[in-house]
């Protein structure tokens, strides 16, 4: 699996160094306290790392007909998919891990730190699941076609904050409290293993889809 992973690892390293640098710079700017802006940007950066690196790699595979090349080597379709999924897991783990450590080093109140850590873990889990779904989409439709779907999806997501603001107009404190309670209430001992199981299932589905598409 490492043989395939290391082909793609450069892109992940590039984006990881980029994101990690931004996080550290952000931390230096925002100071020792965890601010809402820092939290939100950190979450977006986890997204950026996963999506940018995955899509860059898949664009590269499509451009070079990389899967056609790999299919001539002694490696199974499942091993190729496993390598892709393992790399995303590693990237998310490292990025979320870095943020969790940074948050724990801050001078904020322990409850704030716990919520911030819970938030980035949540973002990590969402990224993992979305990355899994992305791979299924890419293997089913091809990178270029899937990109059109994702583009439309992101466009639709742009309306979500507007809808939320409209829905909770005049009740922003209530919304904030609800969100904070949500993050504080997540049982990570249950959610992380469950997310990994879902991710594993998505990987199996992606491998199956890739195998069927090659037929």
């Amino acid at each position: 699996m490492w043989k395939i992973m290391k082909k793609n690892v450069n892109v992940f390293v590039f984006y990881f160094v980029f994101v990690a640098s931004l996080i550290v710079i952000l931390k230096l700017i925002t100071g020792n306290e965890i601010t809402t802006a820092f939290m939100i940007i950190a979450g977006i950066l986890v997204f950026l790392l996963v999506f940018a690196s995955t899509f860059t790699n898949e664009q590269y595979e499509e451009k070079n007909k990389g899967y056609a090349f790999l299919d001539t080597l002694p490696v199974t379709a499942r091993e190729i998919v496993e390598a892709k999924f393992a790399l995303v897991l590693l990237a998310v783990g490292l990025c979320v891990g870095l943020l969790v450590i940074l948050f724990s080093l801050s001078a904020s109140a322990p409850e704030t730190i716990a919520i911030a850590q819970s938030y980035v873990l949540f973002m990590g889990v969402v990224c993992l699941i979305l990355a899994g779904v992305n791979y299924i989409g890419i293997f089913a439709l091809g990178y270029t076609k899937f990109l059109i779907f994702v583009g439309s999806g992101w466009l639709a997501l742009g309306f979500v904050p507007v809808i939320i603001m409209k829905t909770y107009q005049g009740r922003m404190d209530y919304l904030k409290e609800t969100v904070l309670n949500f993050y504080a209430g997540i049982d990570w001992l249950v959610v992380i293993p469950s997310a990994l199981v879902v991710y594993f299932v998505l990987m199996l589905v992606a491998a199956k889809v890739r195998h069927l598409k090659s037929a």
Binding site: K7, T72, P74, V75, S214, A215
Partner: protein, 290 residues
């Protein structure tokens, strides 16, 4: 196990094309030429052998193993050159060699380096900068450098210049001489197959139209030229690819040994002439089905 590849009743249905009940056995130490016009199903058959396409039914055994269940093992022992060569275009030849070497158990770096030198492939060139012919040679170098027991090549000589084409064919011709090694080569250039194959299989519209040892086939298939009245109707009616021209008539027999005695007198009187056919003639006769 006398056969290195055993194909049994393969069937693959596409919209507008069906690969229908393909059965073939390829003996060890031999070269099989898979001949057919474009779109006959040669690439589909070869991709099924490499498990790049899954058939709807039928089975393939390579080295005595179910190839799909053992595809890693099979690919480890097979040198494959596809009809199109795909490499990571921004990577160099040296990188490509190093990358693929890690997947094969029996990779021979010295052989790879030697083949690059023999084929005059620059190690530092990016693969996207290589010509089509050089890409084929790089594919061939990769395929040969892990000591395969079976080479599977899909139209490897298409688009190659005559010099490189001859080099490639010569290399393949001598490949089984090491013992226990075989080659499956598909081509619509019958000259290539004539030059190197021991066995030929003609694939026409998704079906095996004919499969025989090449020399046996060419000894049975002959073109008969005859003057009007020199051949009995019952014989001339069995000939295919019949032509009538100002010098007389001609047609191809698929069973010359059975005719030899019967037409001996006509041959002696020079009213009948027997001419060897080439695989092109056989292919055309099979395609036209006359």
């Amino acid at each position: 196990m006398n056969h290195i590849v055993e194909i049994d009743n393969l069937r693959k249905v596409y919209k507008g094309f069906t690969l229908d009940n393909i059965s073939l056995n390829i003996p060890k130490d031999s070269i099989l030429g898979l001949i057919g016009p474009n779109g006959a199903g040669k690439t589909t058959t070869i991709k099924i052998l490499m498990d790049m396409i899954q058939p709807q039914s039928g089975s393939v055994r390579i080295f005595g193993m179910d190839h799909r269940k053992n595809i890693k093992h099979v690919r480890n022992r097979v040198g494959y050159v596809g009809e199109e060569q795909h490499f990571y275009g921004d990577k160099t030849v040296a990188w490509t060699g190093k990358f693929v070497s890690e997947f094969f158990d029996n990779w021979d770096t010295n052989m790879f380096q030697k083949l690059l030198t023999d084929f005059t492939i620059s190690r530092t060139k990016k693969t996207k900068e290589l010509s089509k012919g050089t890409k084929v040679k790089l594919s061939l170098a990769i395929a040969l450098s892990h000591n395969p027991e079976l080479m599977i090549l899909d139209e490897p000589t298409a688009g190659l210049d005559p010099v490189i084409r001859r080099e490639v064919l010569e290399l393949l011709r001598t490949f089984p001489e090491d013992g226990n090694k075989s080659v499956i080569i598909s081509s619509h250039i019958t000259d290539d197959i004539t030059r190197i194959a021991d066995y030929v299989a003609f694939l026409i519209e998704g079906k095996i139209a004919l499969s025989e040892p090449k020399d046996e086939l060419l000894s049975k298939w002959k073109r008969i030229h005859y003057k009007d009245g020199a051949l009995e109707d019952r014989i001339s009616n069995t000939l295919t690819s019949q032509k009538t021209h100002m010098f007389g008539n001609s047609g191809i027999t698929m069973d010359y040994p059975a005719l030899k005695e019967v037409i001996a007198e006509g041959v002696a009187r020079e009213e009948i002439k027997v001419e060897n056919v080439d695989l092109d003639d056989v292919l055309i006769a099979l395609v036209k089905g006359e």
